[in-house]
Symmetry: C2
Subunit: 320 residues, 2 copies
C-alpha cells in the first residue's frame, strides 16, 4: 500500500495534520483538503515543503469542488468534520451539513472516481448515554443525545450503505476525546486558557464529576494504521480509547499540579457539562487491542503533554 496516493480531508486539523505527517513519513503521496475554518495551515508547515503533498483549500459542502479535486486514489481518510460537540444545539444545521452531507459528498465523489476505501473519524458520542461500561461496538441500539453524535452516526450509516451497494470498504473509528500536540479545543484547552487569563479562579462546566476517557493523538493514528492494515471486512468498526477514565476534577488536579497553580474552582453545576454531554464515556477497546495495538500514553501523560504544548504555543488561544 505504501507509495500510493491517498486523500486526507480535514488535513489541516489537529488529528488530520498529525495523520498527514505520519503518512508522508510512510512514503504515501498525500492529497490534503481543508476549508481552514478550524484547521490551521501552520500545522502543515512541513508537509507543504514536501513534494509528495498537495494541498487544496476547499469547502467539502460544495459537491462540484470535491468532485473536481478527487482523483483515483487508494483510500480517503475522511477526517473533516465539525468537531464542536458542545454547541450543536446553537446551530443544528452545521452538524447536518459538515458531518452528514459532506460525508455524502465525499462518498459520492469516491464512487464517481472509483475510490473504494474510506477511513472515517466517528465518535463515542454515537452511543448517546450508554448503560453498559466500558461500551463496546455492538452495544444495544443507541439513542442519540447530541447533534454531533447524530450527524456522525448518519455519516457511519452512509458509509455502510455505500459499501453494501458499490463494493466499497469502510473503516469507522469511534473515538474518545483525543489529546496531544496541536490539540485546540476541549476542556484542557479551556482550562489552560482560563489559567493564563486569570490564574486565581477556574469556571468549570457541570459538577466536575463527568467521567471521560482520553487518547493521545499519536496512539490514535497508530491504531488507525494498524486497523486498516489488519482488518479487511466490508465494514470495520473500532472503538479507540484507553483502558482508563478520569473525572473532570482529577483532570483539573493534573493540570494545576503541572502548572503549579491553585485556582479557586467554581462548578457551574449539573451532571452534564452542556446539552447532549454524556456524563460518562468509557469505551471497550478489546477489538482494536486484539490486533496487537495498545496505547503508549496514560491519560495523565496525555494531559500533561497537551498542557505543555498549549503553554508553549499560546498563539493557539488567540481569536482567529
Amino acid at each position: 500500500m505504501y507509495n500510493k496516493k491517498v486523500i486526507v480531508t480535514g488535513c489541516a486539523g489537529f488529528i488530520g495534520s498529525t495523520l498527514v505527517d505520519r503518512l508522508l513519513k510512510l512514503n504515501f503521496y498525500v492529497v490534503g483538503i481543508d476549508n481552514l475554518t478550524t484547521g490551521r495551515l501552520v500545522f502543515l508547515k512541513n508537509p507543504l515543503k514536501n513534494k509528495k503533498f498537495k494541498f487544496y483549500k476547499c469547502d467539502l459542502l460544495n459537491f462540484a469542488e470535491v468532485n473536481r479535486i478527487f482523483k483515483k486514489s487508494e483510500m480517503v481518510f475522511h477526517f473533516a468534520a465539525n468537531a464542536d460537540v458542545r454547541y450543536g444545539h446553537k446551530h443544528p444545521r452545521k452538524d447536518l451539513e459538515q458531518n452528514t452531507i459532506v460525508t455524502y459528498n465525499v462518498l459520492e465523489s469516491m464512487r464517481k472516481k472509483g475510490i473504494k476505501k474510506i477511513v472515517f473519524c466517528s465518535t463515542g458520542s454515537v452511543y448517546g448515554e450508554p448503560k453498559i461500561f466500558p461500551t463496546s461496538e455492538n452495544n444495544p441500539f443507541p439513542i442519540q443525545t447530541s447533534f454531533y453524535g447524530a450527524s456522525k452516526l448518519a455519516g457511519e450509516s452512509l458509509i455502510q450503505a455505500y459499501s453494501e451497494a458499490y463494493d466499497m470498504k469502510g473503516w469507522i473509528f469511534r473515538f474518545v476525546s483525543i489529546l496531544g500536540n496541536r490539540y485546540s479545543h476541549g476542556h484542557v484547552y479551556d482550562f489552560c486558557k482560563q489559567i493564563i487569563n486569570h490564574p486565581k479562579y477556574l469556571n468549570v462546566l457541570g459538577n466536575g464529576n463527568q467521567k471521560k476517557s482520553y487518547l493521545n493523538v499519536d496512539d490514535c493514528i497508530e491504531a488507525i494504521l494498524v486497523a486498516i492494515k489488519k482488518s479487511n471486512k466490508k465494514i470495520n468498526i473500532f472503538n479507540l480509547g484507553t483502558d482508563e477514565y478520569i473525572n473532570v476534577k482529577q483532570s483539573i488536579n493534573i493540570i494545576c499540579n503541572l502548572l503549579k497553580v491553585k485556582p479557586k474552582i467554581y462548578f457551574l453545576g449539573g451532571k452534564r457539562g452542556w446539552i447532549g454531554d454524556s456524563p460518562f464515556i468509557f469505551l471497550n477497546t478489546k477489538k482494536i487491542k486484539s490486533l496487537k495495538w495498545k496505547s503508549k500514553f496514560t491519560i495523565k501523560e496525555s494531559i500533561e503533554k497537551t498542557v505543555n504544548y498549549l503553554m508553549n504555543n499560546r498563539w493557539i488561544f488567540k481569536k482567529r
Copy 2:
C-alpha cells in the same frame, strides 16, 4: 388531545392518507402537506371535502416553504418519505434529501414554531441484516445495508438530538412492510401488475426464500395512536409488525390462489431481492403489545385485502 390541530406530512400517501381519515374521524384539525410525487390527491377525496382539513402542496426540501406552512400545532406526524427502498443505489442523494434533510427541515420548523411532539415513520430496515429474530428495539448496534435504512436512521437520530436539546418528544415507529387499501408499491403490487399484464408467468426478484413480516395499514395506524396515547418519554421507539412472517413463495401462493391463476414462476436468483434487501425481516413487537395493542389481521388476510384492493383499482398501475 382531540379537537386539536396536528400536521401530517406525506398526507396523500398510502399510510399518510389513511392516518388523515382516521384523525378527522377523531375530530382533529388536520393540516396536510404533500409534494404529490408519490402521494395521490384521490386518496384525499373525503378529507378535501372536510372543513377540518387543509391541504398544502409543498416540497419539504424547501425550508422556507415548510417554515411558512408550519403553525403552532399539537403534533407533527412526519410521514413524508422516499419509501422506495429498492432503488436507493440508483440515486443515493434521494434518500439523503427526502428522508434525512427533510426531517431536519421539519424539526427545525417545529422548533421555530414551538411544536413539541413528532411522530416518525421509520423502518425495520434500520436493523440492516440483524442476527437476532424476532429483532427487538434494543438489538445490538446495527450496520446499515440500504440507503433507505441509513437515511431513516439519520432521521431518527435527528429527532433524538432535537428532543434532548429543545425539550421535544418523539415517537419513532419501525415498520415491517405495510399492506392494505391504497397500497401502491412493493412486491404484492408488482406481482398483481404482472398477473394483469401476463397471467402465464411471473418474474420474481431473488430466490423466493426471502422471509418478511407484514402489517395491515389499519393495524399500523391503530398502533401509532395507542402508542402516542400511552407512552410519553422523551423518545418512544416501537417496532410495528405481526407475530408471523412468510416467504416470497408463500406470498405468491396466496396471491395466485385468490386470483385463481397458475403462472410459471421465474426466480431471478440470489438470497436478496435487490441491493440492500434484508433476506429476513421479523420484528419483536412485545413492546407495543405491552400497551394492549394487537394486530387484527393475519398476513394472509392483509395480502388478500391488498390484492382485492389492487384488482378493483387498476388505475393505480398506470404510469403517472
